[in-house]
């Protein structure tokens, strides 16, 4: 069940997770790398996008909103992402924009930072705190930058990868000491919101087929879905193992109860002598099997909660994507009903044995 839920929710969360954008424009590279870097804040940037290209797509009549991002620094492993204040105009989910829980937005051109909620919580930074970024996407204490940033705001939780990012003005990344001055006007990628999704096809044709410098990663959900499809064999194997475990467990319960029927023949005979009908005994054994399975499901659900809570914590820490272990899934009904049903069905075998118990023989001694 844990395998199933983590898989389903991860698939759902990752494929629906586009941070409010339809596409990513970046240096020539694999679409997936662009999406992972620009949307999920994972992986390295595949290269730079000249500012002129950003301006060109920003001016395209099919584009509704475009947000530049620049990466290259971190603070204790949490990525610094340079961007514009347009960030606060983005609806990351329909009807919900990135909003500040505390403080104010950063001012363009100033060494100010707005922290995603998860990053603020993990780094224990609050408004007014100052910090020095570190060069690179992975933390290395020898790579400390001289610049000092001050925290001006903390975002509300958005349950998106933005929660684990430190947002600073675009110029901050571009002009950080130690970065290549030649790339001072470049950005890492442009996040694109289209006026209509159909417009994506034309832009894809223009950048990917007719051009050879840039990559237009569109549509984001399909790109992520392709990735998950490639690793689907793994969760199919896990699901198969889970079902095998369930079948073996059911078989063990069956064997155990079937064997116990020999030891319980006398008790059954006593009950029959007291007037219990054979079919009452039959039903009692079937119910016992079902009850054992039901108790097993309660224990399994507790284990499920433990496993998915840990898994959800890891996924959130690594990707910012939120998995809710208690969010309703059909598997919550399907698995218990199937297992309890299978157990009750398997219980028919020992129940039939109990049904056929010879009362007189098992009330020995006979005088």
């Amino acid at each position: 069940m844990a395998v199933w839920v983590v898989k389903e929710q991860s698939n759902d969360a990752f494929t629906k997770q586009n941070a409010g954008f339809d596409a990513v424009l970046g240096a020539r590279s694999a679409k997936l790398q662009l999406v992972l870097n620009a949307i999920f804040h994972l992986e390295a940037s595949p290269g730079n996008l000249p500012w002129a290209d950003f301006q060109e797509i920003a001016a395209n009549p099919a584009v509704k909103l475009v947000l530049p991002i620049a990466v290259g620094d971190n603070y204790y492993g949490y990525r610094l992402v340079g961007t514009s204040t347009n960030l606060f105009a983005v609806e990351h989910t329909p009807g919900r924009k990135y909003r500040l829980a505390q403080g104010e937005p950063f001012m363009p051109g100033y060494m100010e930072a707005v922290l995603g909620s998860f990053a603020a919580q993990q780094l224990k930074l609050k408004i007014g705190d100052k910090f020095h970024p570190y060069h690179g996407l992975n933390f290395d204490e020898k790579q400390k930058h001289e610049e000092q940033y001050v925290v001006t705001g903390i975002l509300e939780p958005s349950n998106t990868p933005a929660d684990r990012v430190i947002w600073i003005p675009l110029e901050g990344i571009q002009n950080m000491k130690g970065h290549d001055p030649a790339a001072a006007n470049d950005i890492s990628a442009a996040l694109v919101k289209l006026k209509s999704s159909a417009a994506g096809r034309g832009l894809e044709l223009m950048y990917n087929k007719q051009g050879n410098r840039l990559t237009f990663a569109w549509p984001i959900a399909q790109i992520v879905s392709d990735l998950l499809g490639k690793i689907a064999w793994f969760d199919r194997i896990l699901a198969l193992v889970a079902w095998l475990v369930a079948v073996v467990a059911t078989g063990s319960v069956l064997a155990s109860i079937y064997n116990s029927m020999n030891e319980r023949r006398r008790d059954i005979a006593i009950l029959r002598a007291l007037g219990a009908r054979a079919h009452t005994i039959f039903c009692a054994v079937v119910l016992e099997c079902a009850a054992i399975a039901a108790l097993g499901m309660v224990a399994a659900f507790a284990m499920y909660l433990a496993i998915t809570t840990v898994a959800a914590g890891v996924i959130r820490a690594e990707t910012g994507v939120v998995i809710e272990p208690l969010a309703w899934q059909p598997v919550f009904a399907v698995v218990p009903v199937t297992i309890i049903g299978l157990s009750a069905l398997a219980g028919i075998i020992p129940a039939a044995k109990a049904y056929r118990t010879n009362v007189a023989e098992n009330l020995l001694p006979v005088s």
Partner: protein, 222 residues
Amino acid sequence: MSLLEIRQLKKAYAAPEGGTHVVVDVPEFSLAAQAQVALSGESGSGKTTFLNLIAGILTPDTGSIKFNGQELAGLTEPARDRVRATSIGYIFQTFNLLQGYTALENVLLGMSFGPGADRGFAKLLLKRVGLEAKLDHLPRQLSTGQQQRVAVARALANRPKLVLADEPTGNLDHANAREALTLIREACRENGAALLLVSHDREVLGQFETVQELAKLNRAAK
């Protein structure tokens, strides 16, 4: 009218060496309501089989068992179970208490297949047999004499018309046997139940006004 009337009752088992072995062959037997009758017989005389036939646990090969005006031999198994659950109490030599249940639960269980559990009456019965302080004791926490008293209370739990007792003192010492027998007889009398007891113990048989020899009653035992 008799509570129990038996005519030409026969029961045989397949013998290991082939053929059949007749265990019960009773041409005639009757028991009046509220009567107390003892059957004497040695081991292997077919006493238990005879009682099991009356209780409807076994079905006869031929013959008739009329209990309370109803022909048991013609009933289906569930119907015989119903008769046993509502009208017949059974006391065994080895008590046959369910080990995982307390004294009170054993008595309540005896009721649950009949008219339904009556906690008050179950406690009353256990009080009557002197176990009011042992209601929550498991069988292993009781002496053999106390276990037999629980069995007596259980046999009377459904206010039966007939109590069958199969060597009920066979596993008890002398003092406990005497006490248990008195208790069984008194409890049956108080509850208006007839008692049919089988034993090979001369002392037990000596306490009954009516004793019939199974050897005379059961032609197969000769």
